[in-house]
Symmetry: C2
Subunit: 342 residues, 2 copies
């Protein structure tokens, strides 16, 4: 069922999953294309971003954002075409980065539009990845929290994922030794061969903690946490005094995993004290007003000059998006996951 | 057995305690008074500081500092009199804040001397408390990590202890609402009645978490962690977005306590992410070169003008020091614990 002008395909949440979600927590429905009111636009989704945080929005209780209500459309960042506009800042044909969610059509008063894409944008979907939320996350975490110094060791998990691929390349440009952690030899080979990481360790491999330690002979000074779980267990002993840890995601824990062992909090607190660690959580949405447009200029230049490489993992249709999200939550993706909706 | 000129009483570590230490892990011995060599001083201990970190130095494996070796003198900050000096900067009769440990006499080449006390110091022992390491810890944590804004809520555990009593008063001066946590109604009454805290909650009381929540109707913006354990469990749900948490001590965990329940690390990490927490551990010894002398001037003025109050808990003799430390580790102290050695 392709996108059409006279009906709206929408994917709604049917239930709040306990543990790992199955595809049937999301349901494809069709409805009428909505009609914009005064000051509104009708946006048509061309690309939908799939991101780990979506699992958090499936919680029954609110987290840092309200939960998606049962029967409502799943939230999500989109690249959308303006089809109708009575908004003074946008005209029909504009391409915008919006937050229309998992559907073909959405109304917008402009408040969810992060940016109007340049007319000549070669790869609009990159505004969901390297030039969008994940890339901005990487840039903010490194620049404002990691504050790298040349010669330091930077480590990141999900190294070829949407955030990891960008932050690793940025850290390398700052003169850091860059060590990635990824699931599988193929991703690791890409991180070192294509992205220029100094090392990449497969967290599925036997002896992963020892291999990671061997890959970080000078310890770890900066760590971007987007996983948690067993990966963090292997990283923790390697933190140097004064290490900076930014927490932008915890994919290993979003479905309640990794909570059945002994209490690790006292040990983590002791390490924080003894090693003078600086641990900072952040939600990137807070930082759009101050920094996003500057980031886009900077990152566009880096991509255009081929100094930063971009890898996407394409999901071919809105129908395939639920399974795409589940794969992403299990590390099945290889690059930034985007759904071709149009 | 009082201090004398012709023998050196010294308290040594007999064993690395597992769990809570008993008094016999420390033993009082006597030996000869050492003779200083070229460039050295002979220091005579007048006051010895007892501090929670001493438990950490009794670990079998090194932590942020090397462990005390079995049979060696326990480490500790002291106010000491220079008895003999061939050091160019000190003369006989000078009073210094040094790190002589639990003994009457120690040699020093000056490297462990933090400060020479002013000639007119009214209360030399205060240089082990409000004007010494704990006071400096409080000042540094608030000024450099907490960065309080007027109207924010500041909370601290061990509220009448060496660090808590100072940081609470400093936070109050910055316009914060100040909430203490202490063990027992007497300490709480002192915190609100004498120290000027807005509230103080007894962590032994039934319904402590609910009482703490009621005392922090606007949540907690800044928290000084020196306890951990059940106190932290009650504090965590109250953190506001963007709360700053400085970790200077974890007395509830030093003897291995509080590790037998479910794993709290995933939840703490999620809170760090969702609430954008900033958690920073520090070891105050790192910051003496940059800030200590400025701190002493500032704090001396505040104490002299009675803007900051100081409460000590006196241990009468070196013989009583082992039990004094054990009491401190169980929260039995009421104020900064100092041992009158001379």
């Amino acid at each position: 069922m392709p996108q059409s002008a006279d009906r709206n395909r929408r994917v709604t949440l049917t239930t709040y999953p306990k543990g790992e979600p199955s595809p049937d927590v999301l349901r494809l429905e069709t409805g009428a294309v909505p009609t914009p009111g005064e000051g509104q636009m009708l946006l048509r989704t061309e690309w939908l971003s799939l991101d780990p945080y979506m699992r958090v929005r499936m919680y029954e209780t609110d987290s840092y954002m309200p939960s998606v209500k049962l029967g409502e459309v799943m939230v999500g960042g989109t690249i959308s075409r303006v089809e109708i506009s009575s908004h003074p800042d946008y005209v029909k044909g504009d391409l915008v980065q919006a937050y229309s969610g998992w559907q073909d059509y959405a109304l917008s008063d402009g408040s969810d539009v992060m940016i109007k894409l340049p007319q000549d944008a070669r790869h609009p979907s990159w505004f969901l990845g390297a030039l969008g939320m994940p890339g901005f996350t990487a840039w903010y975490a490194l620049t404002h929290l990691g504050k790298p110094k040349a010669g330091e060791t930077f480590a990141v998990a999900a190294a070829t994922g949407a955030v990891g691929q960008i932050i690793g390349q940025l850290a390398k440009r700052q003169g850091c030794g860059v060590v990635g952690i990824a699931g599988g030899a193929r991703k690791c080979a890409y991180a070192t061969g294509e992205l220029g990481f100094d090392a990449c360790v497969d967290h599925h491999a036997p002896g992963f903690p020892e291999q990671l330690a061997a890959a970080c002979p000078k310890g770890i000074d900066i760590y971007m946490e987007n996983v948690g779980g067993a990966v963090l267990d292997a990283v923790r002993p390697l933190f140097n005094n004064g290490a900076r840890i930014s927490i932008c995601g915890l994919i290993a824990h979003y479905s309640g995993g990794g909570m059945d062992g002994a209490d690790r909090l006292p040990a983590m607190l002791s390490e924080t004290l003894f090693k003078r660690l600086k641990i900072e959580g952040f939600i990137i949405f807070d930082h759009y007003p101050a920094y996003y447009s500057g980031f886009v200029s900077e990152m566009t230049a880096l991509i255009d000059s081929d100094e930063i490489k971009v890898r996407e993992d394409l999901v071919g249709s809105l129908e395939a998006a639920p399974q795409g999200l589940i794969d992403l939550l299990h590390g099945g993706n290889f690059g930034k996951v985007v759904v071709k909706v149009a």
